[in-house]
Every structure is written in C-alpha cells, then in structure tokens.
Symmetry: C2
Subunit: 525 residues, 2 copies
C-alpha cells in the first residue's frame, strides 16, 4: 500500500471534490472556530478557517493511522535507522535530534536514545562551563557564527526570536555566503580583539565555511591576534576540524543530527548561550523537549504537529495547492520562515519513496513567507485576489516580548497586530461579493493560526519542535525519507568542476573548453 492507494486517501480524493465552503453564509461561525481548535504545550492551533469538515478530519485521522505515523515517530525518537532508502546505498543513520534536548521529564528509555542523550548532555555541560568561564574572563563581546544552511538559518532564526533576552553589549554576526562581500561587510563592523568565532560544519569540509574561516582567520593574523584564542569548532567528532591545536574549544555533533534539525544541539547552543545566557538556552531546550513528548500522542487534538501535517497534506495532495506561506505576526520571528523553508523543503522535496520507487503524488510544498503585518502591505494582494490559491500557516502571540507598547485610540499595538491577524484569516476565508469586480474577493483561501501566549525561550523551543515534527509526520505519511539531501550533490560536483577550470585557466592561461560551463565562463573576464 502506498500513500495514494490507501483507503483513507481514496476517500479524501472523493471528499476533495466538494471541500467545505467557507464563503457560504453561516458556514464560518464562532462555534466552528471554537470547535476546530487543538492545544499542545501552551499553543492553540485554530483551524476553523481551513476547508475541512468532520468527515475530512476523520479521514485524515485514518490516513495517519494507516501510515502508522505515531509508531514511526516513536521509532525515530528511539533511534531506529530511519534515514535510509531500502535496497540502495544511502546514509543509513539514526535520526536523533530529540536526544539533543531529552534532559527533562520522561526521557526516552531506548538504549540508542539513552546513549545519544548522554553524549549530547556531555556537550551541554561542557558548554555551561565554557560560557561561565568566558563570561568571568570578560574577553568577548562580539561573536561571528561561520556556517551555512542548517548551521546558519536555524541558529539565526532562534537567536532573533530570543534577542530580547540578549546580554547588554553583545553583538552577533552571521557569515554564511561564499560571496566575499558577506565577510567583508562583517569585518568592517566587528571588534576582532573581543570577538569569538564559531566555525560550524559537521563534516568539517563545507566549501563556504572553510573559505570564510580562512578569510576571517587571515584578518586575525594580520591584526596580530592568535586565532586559536578566538576560534571555536562545532563539528563531528574526528572530522578534519576536530583539532585542539587550532581551536580554543571544540563542541561535537554526530551523524544522527541532520543540519536542518541541529539548532538545539551545539550548532545553535553555543551562540544562544553566549548571546542570551546558558539559562535561556536551557529553557529553549525544555520547550523543544516538551513538544517531542507531545508528538507521540495519537490524539490530533493534543498533537498539533500531527494536526498541522495532516492539514498540509489535505491542501497539498487533495486540494492540489503547491505552496504554503508561513506568516508569523511577530517581528522577532522575521527569519523563522527562512528556517522553516529549509527544514521543510530540504526534508520533503523528494521524488522517491523509502523503497526507492518514484512517487505518484506530490511531496513537500514550496514554503515561503515574511512577517505580518508588513506582509499585508506586500504580497497579500495576490493572496486575496490572484489566480493562485495559497494556504497560510499563521503564527501569533497574545502578548509582546518587551512589553513596551503604546495605546492609541483605546488599543495597544499588540492588539492591532492581533486584530490584523484574525481579520486576515476571516477575510481570506469568507471573501466578499461586490458589484465592482475589482472589489470582489473569492474567499476559500485556507489558513490556520498557531497561537501562543508570548514568544519566550521556552515557547520558541516548542515552536521549533512543532515544525520539526510536522515535517517528519508529512514524511511518514508520504513514506519518503525526510532526512537525507542527495539533491544538493549534483550542483556541488559541477561547481567544483568549474572552480577547477577557473583555477587551471589561471595557471595555464588556456585549457580545453569545459563542455557546459565554458559559454558561461567566457562572460567572466
């Protein structure tokens, strides 16, 4: 049985012919909004504005049962070898990012998880002491994180989410792109003498990261500073970067942590602890771990990751909507959509199932988004009146972070922010009829709202794990491997060929034309 031939899927194909009509008078009611509401770890997921009714929800639940998604989540958290394609060479690894935070209630009891958690805890303890030491010595105010992809996007998104907790006087920079202007701009602003440099690469061989490390290191040496007193490695144990003679300290990750799932590990931890304090990093871990336990609950009313995954599958596979906009109504989450974009698209942008067979249905959608209310003044025009239907995953909070607000005409800015969020969900759902075709809104634009009390270190951890598990559940439903990324290889191989060609052109001032790149290369004098 595959995803498309399952009994529930066939039923859903049928139900998708007449999806719930949100525009019909009396269909979207306060009762409906109250009814379609699930709760996990302090968040509500309000999905009355999705195009679902009870029968659809029942079939989605059946789909989850047929695909054994809770068993698979249990297997993942217990350290089963789920990162693999059966019958073909593949990574064959455990997927144990949950072990990087399983330090609280009800830790996983499987031997693999216990072993992984022990390794992870050792690094956390080392980090706590390291931060204590450098805080005491007061040697560092600035930090450059050198890393790309999962080593940058998650840590940056989380850092911005927690920035309101930042220690005074600290400055954080992110250097990811191999574009030399990325590094050059940072080096103009940073105080090298007081700068800690984190170099993050699991393999210790990432082109961009090693290049940027050399770039920054050269500057330290020119300034008469000893890089070994400033540079910290975050890498796989035994990788080419695992070298105590070159780094002030090394923190470890392992091949059971995928880059895009690594932000609760040392990849995100060193940065967060330096910027906001170890205690806040610990709270963040507690939130993520809380959501890990929730993800094992088969009841979708208490497992919002699974619920969101199912709603996404409904929109993607049955209503055939190819994208999803993730819109936080929270400026602190301004780069969160970029992290979720990687998390989701790198995990589920796959064309074969776990047995290596080509799928006959759509997998991961295109994820994109920007914060509201700013986005309302940008691309919402198309969402309301364009010819494409775009489902939305909204995120909002009842109170602000800084609690520094202004009341104008009887409402605070936080209330205006929330009012806009709710208004959009309603407007997109109901639409509006008009005699003027330009004021006509078709409605039936599906959305749901993930609503929390306040964005804190704890609730940010919850939110992060919410998305990690949503993505995993969709992979389980589709029976694909959400944990490898073979699709990035071909471009890498070709890029290295062109780099070699550039290099040899310089050395020989000639060379045979590279069959494909040459016509491109000739534009680069």
């Amino acid at each position: 049985m595959t995803f498309s031939t399952s009994k529930a899927a066939r039923k859903l194909v049928d139900l998708a012919k007449t999806p719930f009509d949100l525009t019909e008078e009396g269909n979207l009611t306060p009762q409906r909004i109250e009814k379609y509401c699930a709760t996990s770890c302090g968040y509500n997921l309000l999905y009355g504005t999705e195009r679902v009714a009870d029968e659809v929800m029942q079939s989605l639940k059946d789909l989850a049962v047929e695909a054994h998604v809770i068993d698979k989540m249990n297997a993942m958290q217990a350290g089963a070898l789920i990162n693999r394609i059966e019958g073909f060479p593949s990574e064959n690894r455990e997927v144990l990012h949950t072990a990087t935070r399983d330090f609280f209630e009800h830790p996983n009891q499987s031997p693999a998880a216990i072993a992984a958690t022990k390794l992870a805890k050792k690094e956390v303890d080392k980090l706590e002491k390291f931060i204590e030491k450098i805080d005491k010595e007061d040697l560092f105010t600035d930090l450059i994180l050198i890393g790309i992809g999962g080593s940058e996007l998650g840590p940056k998104a989380n850092y911005l989410g927690m920035k309101y907790l930042q220690k005074p006087g600290r400055k954080i920079f992110f250097l990811g792109n191999v574009d030399p202007d990325d590094g050059a701009a940072i080096l103009r602003e940073v105080d090298l003498k007081k700068c800690l440099v984190l170099v993050i690469s699991k393999s210790g061989t990432t082109l961009e990261t090693l290049t940027n490390e050399s770039f920054v290191k050269e500057r330290f040496i020119k300034a008469g500073l000893d890089p070994q007193k400033h540079f910290v490695a975050i890498t796989g144990e035994g990788s080419p970067m695992d070298d105590k003679t070159k780094y002030l300290e090394s923190f470890y990750i392992w091949d059971w942590i995928g880059g895009r799932y690594s932000s609760t590990s040392m990849v995100g931890g060193v940065l967060l602890s330096f910027a906001c304090g170890f205690d806040n990093y610990w709270e963040f871990l507690k939130g993520a771990s809380g959501m890990d336990k929730v993800a094992l609950n088969p009841d979708i009313n208490q497992n919002i990751s699974l619920l969101s995954a199912l709603l996404g599958v409904w929109n993607r596979n049955f209503l055939h909507l190819p994208t999803l906009a993730v819109i936080p109504y929270s400026q602190a989450l301004s780069r969160f959509p970029a992290h979720i974009q990687q998390l989701d698209m790198e995990s589920n942008g796959k064309h074969i199932d776990k047995q290596g067979k080509e799928v006959d249905f759509d997998t991961g959608p295109i994820i994109w988004g920007e914060p509201g209310t700013s986005a309302q003044h940008s691309f919402y025009q198309l969402i309301h009146q364009g010819t494409s239907t775009i489902p939305l995953e909204f995120i909002g909070f009842k109170t602000s972070q800084y609690k520094d607000d202004i009341t104008i005409q009887g409402t605070t800015s936080q209330e205006k922010l929330l009012a806009n969020l709710f208004a959009q969900a309603i407007a997109l759902a109901t639409g509006q009829k008009s005699g003027n075709p330009n004021k006509e809104f078709k409605g039936n634009r599906p959305s749901h709202i993930v609503l929390g009390d306040q964005l804190t270190a704890y609730s940010l951890g919850v939110l992060l794990a919410f998305f990690e598990h949503k993505v995993a559940f969709q992979g389980f439903l589709w029976n694909i491997n959400s944990f490898d990324q073979e699709g990035v290889q071909l471009g890498k191989v070709l890029a290295n060929k062109i780099i070699d060609r550039f290099s040899s052109q310089k050395q020989h001032q000639e060379g045979k034309p590279y069959p494909l790149g040459d016509a491109f290369i000739k534009y680069v004098k």
Copy 2:
C-alpha cells in the same frame, strides 16, 4: 481579443506540448548559451537554460506585438491614465515613477511627463540642499525609517545593495511592523539625540506608520527632545502629514507614484542620500533612468525587461509553473527578493482584466527567494528533486563590491560564487541519470541568469528598473491593471472592526459578539 485568444497564445499552447528538452544529450551546448543572450545597460540576460527554442521565441515576440506592449510602455512613460479599470470606479491615475528619475539623456517630451519630472526634480534639489545642510551641521548619525510595504521594502533592499558605500559612523534602522517589539528593539539600539526619523506615508493615514511614529515620538519627548527637530515627513502634498509645524522638513510624492514603484522617489532618496551620499543616490537614479529608455526598445535582444517578462509568461501560462524563485548570488541583495516579491505580486496578483472581466488564464506568479550560495544549502533540494518544477531568475555579478577577497587553491571567493551560480543553472537544466533513484535528477528545471559586472549604485538602479518594467510588461501582456491594490482593502476593513471591538470591550467591559472575530478574540485575554 484577450490574452488567451490571441493568435500567438494559441500557437504557444501548441508549442508547449513539446517544450525544448534540456536533458537530451547535445541539446544544451556552449553555442546555445551564447546564442540565447540579450544585453541592456551593462547586463546580460542568459536564457539558454530556459525551455525555449527559436519557434517559441518567435511566438513570444508575436505575443508582445499583438499586445502592443511597447506602445503601452510609451503611454505609461508619457503619463497616460493607465491605472484604471474601464467602466468601474477605479484609481484613474497616471503611472509616472519613471518621471522621478528622468533627469538625464533624452527626457520624455510629453507634457504630463515634463510636468511630473519638474515636480520630482524640485524635491531632488531640495534633498541635495537638505543633505548638504545636515552633513555640515553634523547633527545626525542615526536614522530610523518608519514606513511599511513599498515605503520600507524597496528602500531597505536598495540601501543594503549600496551599503558598501555607506558613510562611516552612520546607522540605519527600519521600523515597519505594527508589532510593538519591532519598535522596542530599535529603541534599545538607537541614539535618539543624534537620530533623524523619516516618516513615510503617501496618504498620511497608514495605521502602522502613524502608530509607530507616535511610539517613537513619545520616546523623544520623554528624553526631553523636540521631535520637530528630528522628524522628516515624506508624504503626498496636502496629506494630513504635510504639516511644517510638526516636521523638520517635508518631501513630497504624488498619486502618480505607486508605493511599490516609489523607491527612486523621495521614499528611497532621503535614506540613500543620508546613508551613502547624494552623489550615489544620483548615480542610482541615472541607472534606473537608463533602463527606462531601454524599456522602449521593441527588440527583445536589447530589452531584457521585455525578454524576462516573456520568458515568465512562457513558464507561467504555457508550462503552467505557478511560482518563480528570484535568487541573487550576491549577499548585498539579500532583501532584494522581498522587494521584488511585493513589486510583482501586488502588481500582478489580479483576477480581472482592464475591462473588469474575470480572466481565464493565470496572472502573476508567486515570487520568493533567498541569496545563493546560502540557498543551495537550504531549499535547493526540492528544486532539484522535488515533485514541483520551479523556474528561477538568477542574478550575479562578475566582481565583488568591497574587492576584499581571498584566494584559496587558486580561486577567489567571487569565482567560487560564480562557479556555483553557473553550475546550478546547468545542473537544473540537464539533470543526471543514475542507477540509484536517489541520485537521479530529472532536469528540465528552467532558469536564466541576469549577469552584471559589479553591483554599484548605477547598476542597482538598472536592476531595479529592470524588474519594474518586467512586471509592467507582464501586466500589459495580460491586459490587467498592475498599478492598483484593491485586494488589500477587505482585510483592512475587518481589522479595523476588530480593533474597534477591542477598544469598546475595554471601554464597556461588554459588547455584542462580533459575528466572526469573537471566537478568535476570546483567545486573547
């Protein structure tokens, strides 16, 4: 005749049944890449990696001729009333952002354009003097731009593009979101005593902007500072914000400048001149104006805006690809995709034509993107191996901005950056066969590259206008109005109702349930 019934469109439907196969051995050659190359204002547009052949290109040219797009571009730049829907109440305005920079060779000779250019030039001259004065007095080091949508995204994207030219010691902040945390975070970092505040709203009534203005103003007053000595208005002449008693200076815009097309006007100009100097702003205008003239050229080999528009229509309407990824291989353009996202989606996210009739074809695509090479480590997995096909518009430059680079193993970082760009275009096009299904790449992912020499103030202006005219041409091809934004109204009206409800709940501690928002509101204690 509509877009879908035009002769060329019918031919293109036919050609789209067998689009050019980029994966076939011998099809993608250096000769092809050289042949499919157009040039405007120092940029090449390399489109050999699109799924087009000569017949398709001929039909696309025919489509442009049938839709009279060059006449329409001429009419736009001459100040015809093109922002309208015939037979229905609509904005009925000229679209003259080109007049905000028509100060160089061959200025437009139509009376409307001459009049608009004269008004715009007066503001530019006022700005030059204003900047001279404040630079001389040396009163300001920091600047907060308060504005949202078009008043923030374009100015911010352009500022980052030119930041390498920034005067030492200047700091720039952007405050757009009504989220109080946006303002609170900025107010922690800014030096109010030395801070200039730009408040930007054409109507003078934008909720977010007025709220944030009050928020920041309150802080000035608390600090014992006179806001009138720090605040500058950029607004429509005669708007509620046009009040000399409240502002140090006022700069004007007019209803013939749409928000998303306003970044060469005072909306972007004051910021750019303060941050990078008036001369660099002037160069930026010169670049944009250069591209305006190019947009009048019917030859697509010399009019890359029109060429890009046609390639986009081919992918959107005939190959039925609903999104477009805009990927600059340039960290300085990190927020450029967000600006293009607004520009394109707000302009062309429309469901009726200029006669108010529902269209029977797809209009503007979903635009999204992040800079490369970072994006390669994020969502490229899905682009290479997902089940959705995503066309890409790449942007690249031959040399860096800072010219501060490092050579490792014979190549600079800039060369590595370009090698990756070219490699991706090739890999996406050709794909790769493999006995391991996980290493199989289907190819035929279309892309093109907009390749310039270096990102400077001038070439940034060119690039901005390139996209503005691309979007306008697509609107002309589809016969839609790319210059209004009725779709943002419904959400605004509903938000105000909920805001009133919040306000009255506080005043009366009761109130009738608002029929739709109430079930949402009850979650907000």
